[in-house]
Every structure is written in C-alpha cells, then in structure tokens.
Symmetry: C2
Subunit: 291 residues, 2 copies
C-alpha cells in the first residue's frame, strides 16, 4: 500500500507536467483556460448555467463573467429557463461550434503525438488511461437513452458481441450482424436502449424489447472493462427495470449463458429467478422477474 501511494504520487507529478503543457496549448487561440473549460460544457441544445458552475466548481460571479465574455465573442447565447425564470440556459452558436472544433483539433494533435510516443504499447496505454479516467469519473457516470443504431450504441453492441464470442465456445461474430436488423424492437414506444456514459465514452449498455403486452425481455447488458467492479451493471439493470415499469410491463425475462457468471450473480442478487427455457442456444440459462 505504501508503495502504491508513492507510485500514485509519481503519476500525479508526471501528469501535472503533461496537463500543464496541455493547458498552455489552449492559449494558442488567445483565450484563457477557464473560459475554454466553460465553452466545452456548453452544448448546441443548451446547458444549464448552474450545471456548468457545478461541474467546474466555479464561483457564480466568475461563471457569469466567462459567459458574458463568450457571449460578446458570439460563441454562445443565453436565455432564461422557461421552467424556472431565475435560471439561465447557455446555447452554443454556430460560431461557437466552429471554435470548439478548432480546440478539438489542437487536443487531437497533442493526443496523437502522445500515442505515437507509446509505440508498440499504445493499446496498453490507452487501456490504462481508460481505467484511470473511468475511476476518476466514477461519480459522474450518466445513463441516457440512445437509438440502437447510433454510433455509440453500435460500439457497445459490438463490444458485447465480441465478449460473447470470446467467452462462449462455438460462437462466431458473423452470427451477430450490426446494425441489428431487429433494432426496431429496442426503440420506443415499446422498447428501450440505454447507454451509460463516462464523460464522452460509452461504457455500458442494456436494452429492453417487448414480448407481449405485459412481458418484456432484457437484452445486451454490457459494461466496458474499465468500468467493471464499480456497480455500473447494477445501475443499468435498475434503470432498465424502471423503464419497463413506466412502460407498463409487469414481467421481465432474459436469457443468458452460464459462462457469464458475474451477470448471473447480479441477476440473482437483484430478485431474478430461474424460469423455464424459452429461447435457443447460445442461451442456456433463463431468468425472470415480476415487477
């Protein structure tokens, strides 16, 4: 443990230097870092000013001045929130989107250089970064609905199928075409596809499709390697069960494979129990839950 702490602190020092260098790169476009950090949180659809303040733990006065400055530059627009007219919502303008893209490009170049530096160990380094970033972002993971054919949902499903193939003997990737021809069953109004985000990286998914008017099936529960052991699968299951409830289903089913031991353990721990088989292989374990 003592040694681990010394090594973590070495990591901090190394990264402080790197991040310090990264900060100055933002200055390349003549705007202070604080303002850029705000800009990066403003979405084209609009972001709550309170959320920005909260995320960056900024003083309200400072936030306000940053927003005014960005507004003067024409990068954002602000409006009062119709729901609570004390609140304000900041929205990225077209010019703002272009400016943000320019920052993306700068960061992109720096990142590419660092990855090149990693040489033959680039994959390992990226996996290591994922692990650390997911850990640091842990308290800010969000679960949002997504279209099953969106790029992020496809990435999740691809990873999920790869894992199935790796863990269950006799399966092949071409058995799982993507985009899924049956994607429509995971779409509203009867179905759902949820994606878990850690910052901008999709780190998990789960989906729901109707079987009959009162029964739905949970499918494709997957968690990114870097996010395992942190209770995300449980959160995803809670979320999808909540969706099922609000869609009016009273019974849930799922089929899984006995090789996926952690998943089965989770199901049992959250009130699922074995039921009669209702699908073909690769499923060999069937479970159900009454809502």
């Amino acid at each position: 443990m003592l040694d681990a702490i010394a090594r973590l602190r070495r990591f901090n020092r190394a990264v402080t230097r790197e991040v310090g260098a990264l900060d100055t790169s933002f200055l390349g476009r003549g705007r202070p870092l604080g303002m850029v950090r705000v800009l990066q949180l403003v979405r084209p659809e609009g972001t709550d000013v309170a959320l920005i303040r909260d995320r960056l733990t900024l003083d309200s006065g400072l936030t306000s001045r940053f927003l005014r400055s960005l507004e003067r530059e024409g990068l954002i627009e602000t409006d009062t929130d119709p729901a609570d007219r004390r609140r304000r919502i900041a929205r990225l303008t077209t010019a703002g989107q272009a400016e943000l893209a320019a920052y993306e490009a700068i960061g992109h170049d720096r990142a590419a250089r660092l990855i090149t530096k990693a040489g033959s160990r680039a994959d390992e380094v990226v996996a290591a970064m994922d692990l650390i970033a997911t850990l640091l972002n842990r308290d800010q993971m969000e679960i949002r609905e997504a279209d099953p054919d969106s790029p992020e949902a496809l990435a999740c499903q691809r990873a999920y199928f790869s894992e199935l193939v790796a863990r269950i003997p006799g399966l092949h990737l071409d058995q799982f075409p993507l985009p899924d021809p049956k994607a429509d069953s995971y779409r509203p109004p009867k179905g759902r596809f949820l994606v878990a985000w850690s910052d901008n990286l999709p780190v998990g998914c789960v989906s729901l499709r109707p079987l009959d008017t009162t029964t739905a099936e949970v499918k494709r529960l997957w968690v990114h390697d870097s996010a395992r052991g942190q209770g995300l699968a449980r959160r995803l299951m809670t979320a999808i069960e909540g969706e099922a409830r609000s869609l009016g289903y009273t019974t849930l089913k799922l089929d899984t494979n006995s090789a996926l031991t952690e998943a089965i353990k989770l199901y049992r721990a959250t009130g699922w129990s074995d039921i009669a088989p209702y699908t073909q292989p690769p499923g060999d374990t069937w479970m159900g839950k009454t809502l």
Copy 2:
C-alpha cells in the same frame, strides 16, 4: 487510432479535474504551487538552478524570485557553482526537508483515498498509472549508481528474481537470498550497481562484478514492466559497459537463460556473442564482449 485519441482526451479531462483539486491541496500550507514545485526539485545535496528552470520550464526571473522567497523562509540555501561561477546551486536545509516531508504527508492522504476508491481493482489502477507515468517521464529517466543493499536496489533485485522464477521452470525464490551475501562484489572500487530512475521510482537495474583483473561479469539486468519497449535496457547496458571501460576491464561476460529472449536479442544486437559455458544452471546461455 481515432478512438484512441478520443479516449486519451477523456483521460486528460478526468485528470485535469483531479490534478486541479490536487493543486489546491498544496495551498493548505500557505505557499503558492509554483514555489512548492521548485521546492520539490531541490535536493539536500544540491540541485542546479538551471535544471530546475528547465524541468519546470520557468522564466529565469520567476525562478529567481521563487528561490529568493524560499531562501528568505530558510528552506533552501544557494551557492555559486565552483565549476562555473555564473551558475548557482540550491541546497535544501534541514527546515526545508521538514517542510517537504509535510507536503509529502498531504499528498499521501489524498493518494490513499483515491486508491481506496479503486477498491478491488487497486492493483490494476496502480499498474496503469505506472505505465502512463513512465511514458510521460520517458525523456527524463536517469541512471545513477546505487549501493546493492540500498532499498531501491533491493526492490529491483527482488523484482528481477521474481521474474526469473516466473519465467524459468524449476526455480524458487529462496534460491536468491536478499540482501545478497555477495553484494560486496558489486561495490566500488571493482564493481558497480546501477539503478534507472523514472522520477522517484526505480525502473531498472544492472550490475558489474570483477572476475579477474581484466574481465568483469554483467549481472541482473532488469527493467520494470512499465518501462519496457522504450530502450531502457539498451541504455543500462551502454552505461554498465561504459563503467567497465572506465574501470579498466577489457572483456565482459554474462550468463543468462534462453527463456529471457528479449535480453538475449538485445545482447546480440549490441555486439555480444556466444562463448563457452562458464557457470552452472539456471544459466544455459553464455555470452561475451570485448571492449
């Protein structure tokens, strides 16, 4: 590659937040971060002011002011470098060492909390941090002489023997007692023990012991997992060969095991060639080089 870059940038964001929080923790002792960073580079034996400036990429005026301020507080002392009297050398006083220890304690607490947060995956997280920190520190790795019984040299040898045991069937750790009863042969004036440092972490070692007046043996070449694939083993070999040369040896020998393929590949690539056996198992490959 594209995806890797997006993920690296996510890592940067996560770490910027964490490091930002880390920075403010330094303010707890009423000294600005910049000054603390300088203080951390000053060693009790003395550090070149130019080196400090270089490492932190500071303006000379700013560096000077930080040093004056630390000097006024009695934490450091400065002297002109006798070798080049334009240069100055900063030395940590006893008070400075105490102050630095206090900072260590603060960082220690924060680090311990983060590791606790990693839970069951703490080991993986620390390994991931090592990999990234070593990559970022790559251009600043230093090779320095150490006593074979110093804690860092022992750590290196322990890791080296563990690796031997893991890779060569039939070996047991108790065959390699530490501290080494024959440590004296690796000490000056006839022997050498070199340790490679990445920041404060020993990431590699190599040693030399006399066989006769003109022949020496290279032993215990080891590189930390996080530092592999970056040419460190080659640097260590170059360094130890240089030491051998300056000690007046004309011939070098080593014995190794055929399981250590990367090492053997390196030896062949740097002018070593096979020679007649001269030791017992676990050695099964013997090489020599004329200086």
